[in-house]
Symmetry: C2
Subunit: 288 residues, 2 copies
C-alpha cells in the first residue's frame, strides 16, 4: 500500500491511502497520528484489510501529498552509509553508524520550495527514509525489522559552509523547512531495501547521484536496532539512511545549488520529491 | 522568581512558583505549557504581578520539583564553550559554537536516578541551561536576550565510549533519561550569567568541576541568536550552554561514574541537581 498525509482543497490534512490513482481517507490528521493511534495499521497489507479494521474512509477530492510525518518526535539521520559516498568524502568504512538529529521543523513537503539565504553553500543528499511503526527500545535486529511501518523518500539538503564550521554538523543539517520528505510511505511488503532500491537525485534534469540501498553499510533494521539501544523510537519517528556518492561538495570544483534549481529525488518503488530552490534572504548577522 | 514543574502527592504535575518555601499553582501542567500559553509570563517579576495577570493559584501540598520542561520541541546543546574545558580537551578557542541536539526523552528530573548499562563510560558535564520564553527566528542578540525566560541547571551526562565511536556525538549524548534538569527556572531579573554564576559539579561530595559563566565563549543571548539563524526557537525550548573543565574523560587516567555515585550539580543563584547513578543492564547487543 501507498500511504500519505494529503492536503485537501479546504486546506486541511488527512492520512490517506492510494486507491487506483485516487486517495481514500484514513481516520487521522496525518500519518504520524495514524501510526500512533493504532499499531495494527502496520500489519495491514491491503485496502480490504484496512476496511476490515474499520479504518478505510471515503474518497478525498483534490488531495495531494504533503509531508507524510509533519511532527515526528525524533528524526535520526545516518551519515556516511554508502561505500561510494564514504570514499568520496575521503573516509574509511565505519564500524558504527554516524548519527545526527534533525528537528520536526527541519522537514518540508515533497513539492515545497526550499528557501535559504543567498550566500550559503546548499547541497543535495537524496536518501531512503524509514518510518517507524511500533515502539522499540533496545531491540534486536529482528524486532527492529518488525517495527518498520514502511519507507519514504527524503533529501537531507545541507548547508555545507555552516556544517563545516565545527566538528558537529547540526547547524548545517537543521535549517527550518529544508528536508523534503514524501510523497508516500510504501508498506514493507511492497519494497525491500535489502534486496536493492535505486536512489537517484537529479538537478535540473541531470542525474547527480545514483546509488542502490543494497550497498548500505547499515541497513534499515540495523539502524533502527542500533538507535533503539540508547533511545526509544516510536510510531511516526523517522530514520534517514544516508546518501550515496555524488554530492556537490565532493565535486571538483564543489558545486552548490542556485536560485531556481529543481532537485528531483527518486527512490525505486516509492516515488519522487521535486523541490525548487529559492535563495532569497540575506542573513541578519551579515547586515547588522 | 523561582518557577518549577512540581509533582504533587496525587501523582500529577503543575507549573508552580515558589512562595516563601512553599509552592503556589500556576495554570498549566508544566512550565513548558505555561510559557507556550502566555508569553506575558516572561515579563512578570513578582508574585503580585502574576496575581495581577490572574495566573497565581493556591498553595500546593507535598509538591516537589520535577523536570521543569518535560517535552521541549528542541534541546540544543553547545559543546566546548568554557575556555578551560576547551584547553582540557586539547582544542583551540572556537569561532562558532559547536552545537548538537538532544531529544525530549533525554531529559530527567533533578533528583531522579540515572540508569545505564554497567559497561559504558559515563561522565559528568555540569551546565547552565537557558529556557526560551518567546518565539525567535533570525534574531539579533538584543532580541534574543529579551526572549530568554530564565535559567536552570542541567548535567549533560555523557556516554563517552559511545560518543567517541564516530565523528558525531549524538549516540553518546542522547541516552533516554540521562540529562537531569532543574530544580527551578529562575527569572532573568534575579541571575545574570554574563556577570558570572559559579557552576560546580561534585561526585560523592568531592568537587570535580568549577567554572564561572562569565568565562563562556558564547553567552546565553549569543547562543539563542546564533541558533535562531537556522531554526526557530519557541517558548519552553532549552539551550544548554556547555560545561567547564574537570570532566572525567579529561583526567589521567580517565575517571567514569560507578554504580551508586551521587552527582551534585550546582549553579549559583539557581539551585542544585542531585542524581544517583545506577549501572544495571547489560546491553542486548553484547549478549545476543
Amino acid at each position: 500500500m501507498r500511504l500519505a498525509t494529503v492536503r485537501t482543497a479546504d486546506g486541511r490534512t488527512s492520512a490517506a491511502v492510494e486507491d487506483a490513482g485516487t486517495w481514500r481517507a484514513l481516520p487521522a490528521a496525518n500519518l504520524g497520528q495514524l501510526l500512533t493511534a493504532d499499531e495494527r495499521i502496520i500489519r495491514a497489507r491491503s485496502l480490504a484489510e484496512l476496511d476490515l479494521l474499520g479504518l478505510l474512509g471515503g474518497p478525498l477530492e483534490d488531495a495531494r501529498p504533503g509531508t507524510p510525518l509533519p511532527r515526528p518526535a525524533k528524526v535520526v539521520c545516518c551519515g556516511l552509509n554508502y561505500a561510494d559516498h564514504i570514499t568520496e568524502m575521503g573516509r574509511e568504512l565505519p564500524r558504527f553508524p554516524t548519527l545526527f538529529a534533525k528537528f520536526a521543523d527541519t522537514l518540508t513537503g515533497p513539492t515545497d520550495q526550499i528557501e535559504v539565504p543567498a550566500d550559503v553553500d546548499l547541497d543535495w543528499e537524496g536518501e531512503l527514509a524509514v518510518v517507524v511503526g511500533r515502539t522499540v527500545h533496545r531491540a534486536d535486529e529482528a524486532t527492529a525489522r518488525e517495527a518498520i511501518a514502511g519507507y519514504t523518500v527524503a533529501n537531507d539538503i545541507s548547508v555545507r559552509d555552516w556544517q563545516n564550521r565545527t566538528l558537529q554538523w547540526l547547524q548545517g543539517k537543521a535549517w527550518d523547512a529544508t528536508t523534503p520528505v514524501g510523497p508516500v510511505m510504501v508498506t514493507v511488503d511492497e519494497v525491500d531495501p535489502d534486496s536493492g532500491l535505486e536512489v537517484t537525485c537529479e538537478v535540473n534534469g541531470s542525474t547527480v547521484q545514483r546509488g542502490n540501498t543494497r550497498t548500505l553499510v547499515f541497513g534499515p533494521a540495523a539502524l533502527v536496532s542500533y538507535i533503539s539501544q540508547f533511545t526509544t523510537l516510536r510510531p511516526g519517528d523517522l530514520v534517514l539512511t544516508g546518501t550515496p556518492g555524488g554530492v556537490g561538495m565532493g565535486m571538483t570544483p564543489p558545486r552548490f545549488l542556485c536560485d531556481g534549481d529543481v532537485v528531483r529525488t527518486h527512490v525505486e518503488g516509492i516515488g519522487a520529491l521535486e523541490n525548487t530552490i529559492r535563495l532569497t534572504r540575506t542573513p541578519p548577522e551579515e547586515t547588522s
